[in-house]
Amino acid sequence: MGEVVLEGRGIKKWYGKLQVLKGIDIKIEKGKTKVIIGPSGSGKSTLLRILGLLEPPTEGNVLFKGRDVYAEKLDLNKIRAKIGFVFQEPSLFRHLTALDNVKLGLRHVLKLSEDEARRKALETLRIVHLEGWKDHYPAQLSGGQQQRVGIARALAMDPEIILFDEPTASLDIELTWEVIDTMRELAERGITMLVVTHEISFAKEVADEIIFMDDGMILEEGPPEKVLMNPKSERARVFLRRLLGV
């Protein structure tokens, strides 16, 4: 077993009286791609925000490279900089060009010089094939391009892991592919990823492991062929049958 980059132990989350997560244990190893599937409302996005340190769990521990983030009172900003996050909602900084979106964290978090930050941002935009769009504002980009700039913004920070929260959920089908292809390329580059998605073809081809979540719990976990083709639980079978349309 390789080095564990990010880990959740016994994660529980309540919003008021509603329990969204009911004790989640999850580990993501370096260089691996893990995909979470499951019906909406199953707590996938909440889990991702908790692992991304964007909100605290009500109970349980989040460990980043073996260190307990909340128990050891680690500097959240420093660790967030090492955990990339790609959101479902449009999340580019609207007043900044594509290039400046990628540059912001490089300048103010990693404290690179203007020249270094520019070079690094351009290099990263090239990876997502958007260097020709560097001077465009988010409003001038398609939904798919915006998501790819969002990926570049996360990637430029040299993160230990990137979390994707249904990055194609609000996109048209043809724009979905360009984002999926970009994510596939990242996986090939050996970037560690945790991806919530309904794109089963991505899960099948790219994931090292798939997790099926429902009702705030992990019901299945294992290699794609096992979880997708031969799920143990009835709920996973029903979900997959609907999703695959068979």
């Binding site: 991304g52 967030r80 900084f93 964290g105 978090v109």
Partner: protein, 216 residues
């Protein structure tokens, strides 16, 4: 009323403009601070900020001017100066209105932008400074334009304290020429010529930038 009379009237414009701009700046700083106090929920100070807003929004600005100049002027030297009293009264009241403009604008930027900024590793202050604030200022532009127009118009109250502004010059002209209609009419037109372009410019600029950046 002839050209000389009109030129005389114009001599009131600098005072009108300086009271308006200075009070706008004072209001900008105060409004900004109050908005941050309320937005960041700085405990204790939040109620002070709300009390400040309630008081200054609830009292006529003329009463505040009279209170400052004649009331405080008796024992606080700077308020003896009518210009200072008028500017401070307008500025402090403007702060109570500009805080609302800023707060609305900050809230309109939305939580998703803050979350995205935090995910990059920025701390809360950096996120506010580099992501929320620039967008909020654009959203605030039209509101700030209306507030500026309001200040230019309300600066006319200062003539009661004896400030030699546009309204005071119209009043002097009325006495000198015994013409009751034209001095005030000319002043009214001048007020429109000053306020309309400023408010209109900020409004247009706000719309233009909002479209460019896809802000709501």
């Amino acid at each position: 009323m002839d050209l000389d009379d009109f030129l005389f009237l114009l001599r009131g414009v600098p005072a009108t403009l300086s009271i308006s701009f200075l009070s706008f700046l004072i209001g900008f700083v105060i409004g900004f601070i109050i908005a941050i106090i309320k937005e960041q929920n700085i405990f204790g100070l939040k109620y002070v900020a709300e009390g400040y807003e309630k008081f200054l929004r609830g009292v006529p600005v003329l009463v505040i001017m009279l209170l400052f100049h004649f009331g405080f002027g008796g024992f606080i030297p700077i308020f003896k100066d009518p210009f200072t009293s008028a500017t401070l009264a307008l500025g402090l009241r403007s702060g109570a209105f500009q805080s609302q403009i800023f707060l609305g604008a900050i809230n309109s930027v939305g939580r998703q932008q803050m979350m995205a900024a935090l995910s990059v590793g920025l701390n809360r202050w950096q996120a506010f400074r580099h992501v929320i604030l620039p967008q909020a200022l654009i959203v605030a532009l039209p509101g700030l334009g209306s507030e500026m127009a309001l200040l230019i118009k309300d600066s006319s109250y200062s003539f009661i304290l004896g400030v030699l502004d546009l309204t005071k010059h119209a009043d002097i002209l009325r006495r000198a020429t015994r013409s009751f209609l034209f001095p005030y009419l000319a002043a009214a037109i001048l007020y429109i010529l000053i306020t309309f372009p400023i408010a209109n410019y900020l409004d247009k600029l706000g719309s233009k930038l909002k479209n460019k950046y896809g802000l709501r």
